[in-house]
Amino acid sequence: MGMIDTIPAAPAARLRLPTLTATICVVATLIAAAFAMSNSYYLLLLTFAAIYVMAAMGLNVLSGYAGIISIAHGALICVGAYATAIATVQYGWSFWPAAGLAAAVGMGFSGLLGLPALRLSSWYFVLITIAFTLAVTAMLADLRWLTGGYGGIVGVPAPSLFGYRFSGVAVFWLVVAVSALLWWVIANLMNSRVGWALHAIREGAVTAQASGVSPARLRLFAFLFSGAVAGLAGAFYAVAKVVVTPEDFTFDFSIFFLFVVVLGGPARLSGPLLGVLAFFVLPELLGSLKEYRMIAYGVGLLAFSIFLPEGLAGAIASLQRRLMPERKAAAAVPTRAKPIEPIAGTPVTIDDVSKRFGGVKALDGVAMALPAGRIHAVVGPNGSGKTTLLNLISGFYPASSGSIRLGTTEIVGAAPSRIARLSVQRTFQTPKLLGDLSVIENTRFGGYAREAANGFELALRLPRARREAADLDGEAMQWLALVGLADRAHDQAALLPHGQQRLVEIARALIGRPQLLLLDEPAAGLSMGELERLATLIAEMRKLGITIVMVEHHIELVADIADTVTVLDQGRILAQGSAEEVFRSAEVVKAYTGGRS
């Protein structure tokens, strides 16, 4: 691409883990490993702990990052363990293909259970997973010919690699190594557009769709990924246990994983490790009252869900924020301004569009022809249908009738994410940023549909994924510099004042290289300085060639920069034309001053 003449300076390395959390994780893991080496009881306990961490990391992707609560994780581990035991003991497979089978089976079941949840509210999924867990438990007894009934399957062989047989300590280290690898993969994914998209879906999906994310596809990914990890963990469980019986996989076993993820810290990398160490290993070592443990788990779950929804990892992170001053990563502003390649704006034709909400006509027979590369302002009193119009163009509301075309492409009826992929970007009346993420991550997210590297490349940080990330990081810095926020690139987005959040939203829209940009009241809540910057910015965008549709109350701004103005009143077009013509019209003045003769 011609626009990048100089390789932009990569932004300073992001702090992926708060130092305090990382330290605690490393120290705790080392202590645990030392215990494991000391005697065979601890070794077994910690081998299971490592397997549980692996499994919980998978659940964290689904229930933490994607925010879809599942009770079926234990049942999926059970299915994976049985798949491994059956393949190795009854069919004589070796461990590795059996582990692959276990992962595939776990993935398949998880995807199947998730299908209705792609469309429905996620609480349906909770109940489906409860039903699945009960059904799996009952089936183990029924399928006696396959599962060995209550006696289970005995003698799962140890894995071997190049003639080396893993046993005892070696199995522990094998599980630790696989878990570490999984940690790295999840870290890569969650620090990429996949992770941001999951985050956006968890926050309500609107931001995600506006950036071109299909929520159903991302949710399906989370189901498949967590199911595969559960199956794999099940394979190691079968190996560590040697004997697989139904009584290992009670309902409480499933609850346990949800418990570990929620208390450890949902949507945090270190959550599963901290959760397992604090709430499984410690109680086991202390030998605390086993009979009352489930009650304690329940009380803990209730208390954390109310008082500490960020879990242990979140508590440690906020402790660090309080104890240690924020380490400000110096933002690398591109040293040389690079020319940004012009964008071919798209013309928009709106034809006789109406939108009814029940009996209310929010828009009634609206028609507009917007040539490419111009600034079109839509003004009108509150409730006149301005935002509804933007929601129709971006696909968040389906039009009741009429046609909207981008160039020659009809978009009425298309999903918002598909419209976003046609290079339509938008901002919102109240900025919808992902508050927990940094400003630059929020900006990068706008380029979601531009990234070519697939999930696999992102997970393993293959060359194309790395190159693309570096390029887009540089470009994001450039856009942030343009909106005047380069120095805040690494700050948490939620900490920015309202006006600056708006500007971040514009940067997020611009990195998507929109052919059509929809701005919903961009000037609302801006300071005088920010307002000037906005006017320059919009002029800059026009120069690039972007078609802009802007809903705005700030009449001076509109009069200054808009090429054409449409006045809406009660869902109908009151006046349309150049800014001068429109604002001189008597009808418009009347609608604005409230005089209805």
Partner: protein
């Protein structure tokens, strides 16, 4: 299989279906003003059954007095749950679906505490006054009067719930809160009181379900989770919020379950039911009769 056998299976299917429908309706009652799907609802059915055993069998209280006490106790616990596990989360918009975890946690505490208190053995609870567990035969039809009592009470209570929502001011207020919490508040309705009331009533209604179902299924601490799942299935089939749909859905679940018991083992039966519900949710996500609930930007 003879006609008598099929009819007997249908009777037991319809009876269990009525129970599932009542669970579904209690889920609806708590859901209406809050949009919270109370995962502890099944445990209130269990508590109803266990309390009834303790009061009627243990303390030999008469049925009516025992049932009244059960309803009051369960209602109080429902209120407690709302205060502890639901209100703090509804007050904070950042918690999203936090109530899924908190109501599940509440149900875990209730279940395992009951295990400690009552033990895990199933216990017998006396039938509704005037009914008995003895089998009566009329032509090809075999049934017990307790079964009839359960079906009749389910239908009557659902009719009463529907009448309440449609014809009383408080009922209409609940529907208004369900529609628009803030809007209702502006009109002088207190969503807080209605939420608390709905949780208490839903818990009491669940407990009542437990009292009348217990003579048939036996009272044990393990029945709650199973009833929650079947109640959810009835709800998913009938459409969330639709009480008559819940009754139809419950009947369907009950009959599929009992008719398939002829040739399928318990495991296969559960898989079959799960498959039916999954398939239905894929084709008709909002139930057979349910209207689409839209919630947009």
């Amino acid at each position: 299989m003879s006609l008598e056998d099929i009819l007997a299976l249908l009777v037991s299917g319809v009876t269990m279906g009525a129970v599932y429908a009542m669970v579904a309706v209690s889920l609806n009652i708590a859901f209406k003003p809050t949009n919270v799907f109370n995962l502890a609802q099944g445990e209130f059915v269990m508590l109803g059954a266990m309390f009834a055993w303790g009061l009627m069998t243990g303390w030999s209280l008469p049925w009516l007095a025992g049932t009244a006490l059960v309803l009051v106790a369960a209602g109080a616990l429902g209120l407690l749950e709302e205060r502890l596990a639901v209100a703090p989360l509804l007050a904070n918009a950042r918690h999203h679906h936090g109530w899924i975890i908190s109501t599940l946690a509440f149900s875990i505490v209730v279940l395992h505490t009951s295990d400690r208190v009552y033990g895990t053995d199933p216990q017998a609870v006396p039938p509704v006054p005037g009914a008995s567990l003895d089998m009566v035969q009329i032509g090809a039809l075999t049934f017990s009067t307790q079964q009839v009592a359960v079906i009749v009470l389910a239908a009557l209570s659902i009719a009463a719930v529907e009448w309440f929502y449609r014809s009383t001011l408080v009922g209409k207020a609940v529907l208004a809160v369900a529609e628009d919490r803030d809007g209702a508040r502006l009109n002088g309705i207190s969503p807080l009181t209605l939420t608390m009331g709905s949780f208490a009533v839903a818990a009491a209604y669940s407990a009542f379900t437990g009292v009348i179902a217990a003579p048939l299924v036996l009272a044990s601490t393990s029945i709650g989770m199973m009833l929650l799942v079947k109640g959810f299935m009835a709800l998913a089939i009938g459409g969330v919020g639709n009480n008559w749909g819940a009754l139809a859905g419950g009947m369907l679940v009950g009959c599929v379950e009992s008719l398939s018991s002829v040739s399928a083992t318990p495991g296969y039966r559960q898989v079959l039911l799960l498959a039916v519900v999954l398939a239905l949710l894929l084709v008709r996500p909002h139930g057979l009769a349910g209207a689409r609930l839209t919630r947009e930007v």
